[in-house]
Symmetry: C2
Subunit: 314 residues, 2 copies
């Protein structure tokens, strides 16, 4: 699989740590020390998961090397839905006016990006699609309580789009060499660590410590698995883009992999945890840094628990 | 693909039409005349999408012709989530204690059953799974307003599980010969016909007429497409199991296909619209009626819009 175009959308409103100091007394030093987060974006009252998804896709159309009508599959992903019936994938189909193609939305929490790409891989394998659009969007601030001292300061909003083809279309395509996903609902406090119950308090993280501990086990483990089955080792990796949940988690992932911090791609400092959009935004934002031949490991971990790793070659 | 075991779960509480006559003045005759619905099930306060999913799966284990630990993929589906992070697929993984297999939940409204099965088809094609568990569960009454005279009386709750293998495992397996899905967000009032906005009023159907009109176009159309590409015609069909939304829609689908009502499988009369679980419950409930060699068309339509058709052989 090959990424032909990449784009993302961020809401304009910036919420700095000073906002939380006023709101619930959490200081900038405290938040930065524990999470690495300095600021995050918040969707306006006119925006939601669906509008952000549409904006992210529109941003990508300018660099798309084929007609939008050639898109033959749309896979959306979110755990903070605006509408679970008229999903982000359906509003994108409507906006692009591409009739009668498979359209589906997925949720595996913060790891949904890689799950969505694996669903695409399946459609490509079956010959049921050749040009897929993956759109990831999370509107965390709609479902979180910003006063919550445990997790209120973590969340940001954002969306991203990846246009993916079965065959290479251009020299500048990013090659998705392999994709691996897994559920880890059998370990630790998987089914209570972090929850998003629309009718029961929205996003909450009652077991943050357990989430942290398993994130730093599963992201390095999945990364190694995907490298190993491609005859590669950690030494062959130029960039690591872990799920953007907490800078301390990212740092620990690099330590576990034995890789220097220079190889880390990170946006948590200025975007907070943007859910399943975080890694996709990061992959797009850092395009200018990649050199031909670079290998990128994208690895995710989410509530439930769920994890994934993807090997991308420039 | 082959269905090796099928099961479903229904909440105990039965809500008859008399309940609505008392609540908002809709009479039994009015409801039956417009929808065919006489009663529906309602989950108790201890139940939700996730608990119903777990129950449906547990029911199926007794007849599963292999060890539960051989399951290597779980795909959940719902548009009425209890938890979008700890999804129904993740709680099922937790309940079965099957470690480190791909686990994902999907939403394409009432047509999600067939989308979930198409995702499984992709994993089978890639060789990433051989024994999949599809679990569909909708808790409509959690998100609907029963006083709503437009749609409050339509909704019921329920769940079902399908255990699906890549190769035939027994003579009694149901053979899924072909699967087709599509989004139809480009037509009619697709993105406003029926909506499920967790933070904005739950399930609503402001454009029921448009939903009806497109349901009776897309279900026959998708059914014909899937038959045609398998060298079959409507005359080769023994049973039709359309999405259980409204008995008048089902009747119209049979008329459009030119098939007699004796070939219709229906549970809307006593279950109401159980969302993406409806057809799966119906497929299970009617097992005793199928004869060897029978062909079943399962066809779905949902908000967004989205549609699908699946050809099953006994």
């Amino acid at each position: 699989m090959f990424i032909n175009a990449l784009s993302h959308y961020l809401p304009e409103m910036v919420v700095s740590n000073a906002h939380f100091e006023n709101l619930n007394g959490l200081s900038n030093d405290w938040i930065v020390g524990r999470t690495g987060i300095q600021e995050r974006r918040r969707a306006s009252v006119q925006e939601n998961t669906n509008t952000m998804a549409v904006e992210a896709v529109r941003q990508g159309l300018a660099t798309l090397p084929y007609d939008v009508q050639e898109i033959d599959l749309i896979v959306g992903a979110t755990y903070t839905p605006y509408d679970t019936i008229v999903t982000l994938a359906h509003v994108v189909q409507h906006d692009l006016q591409i009739p009668e193609i498979p359209v589906v939305s997925v949720s595996t929490a913060c790891s949904s990006l890689i799950n969505a790409i694996e669903v695409v891989e399946g459609y490509f394998c079956m010959g049921k699609a050749r040009r897929a659009l993956v759109v990831v969007s999370d509107h965390n601030t709609a479902y979180s309580n910003e006063s919550d001292k445990i997790a209120g300061h973590l969340w940001g909003d954002g969306a991203a789009a990846l246009f993916i083809s079965k065959e290479r279309l251009s020299d500048s395509d990013l090659y998705i060499r392999d994709v691996l996903t897994g559920g880890a609902a059998t370990v630790g406090k998987a089914i209570e660590g972090v929850t998003m119950r629309p009718l029961n308090g929205g996003v909450n993280m009652p077991q943050g410590r357990d989430v942290f501990q398993n994130a730093v086990i599963y992201m390095p483990k999945a990364s190694r698995q995907v490298l190993q089955r491609n005859g590669l080792s950690v030494d062959d990796v130029d960039w690591v883009l872990p799920h953007q949940a907490n800078f301390r988690i990212s740092k620990k992932v690099m330590e576990e992999l034995g890789l220097p911090m220079e190889k880390l791609l990170s946006n948590i400092q200025y975007l907070g945890n943007t859910g399943c959009a975080g890694c996709a935004i990061g992959l797009d934002e850092n395009k200018f840094r990649y050199q031909k031949g670079d290998r990128i490991i994208v690895t995710t971990f989410g509530g439930g628990y769920s994890y994934g790793a993807m090997l991308v070659e420039v």
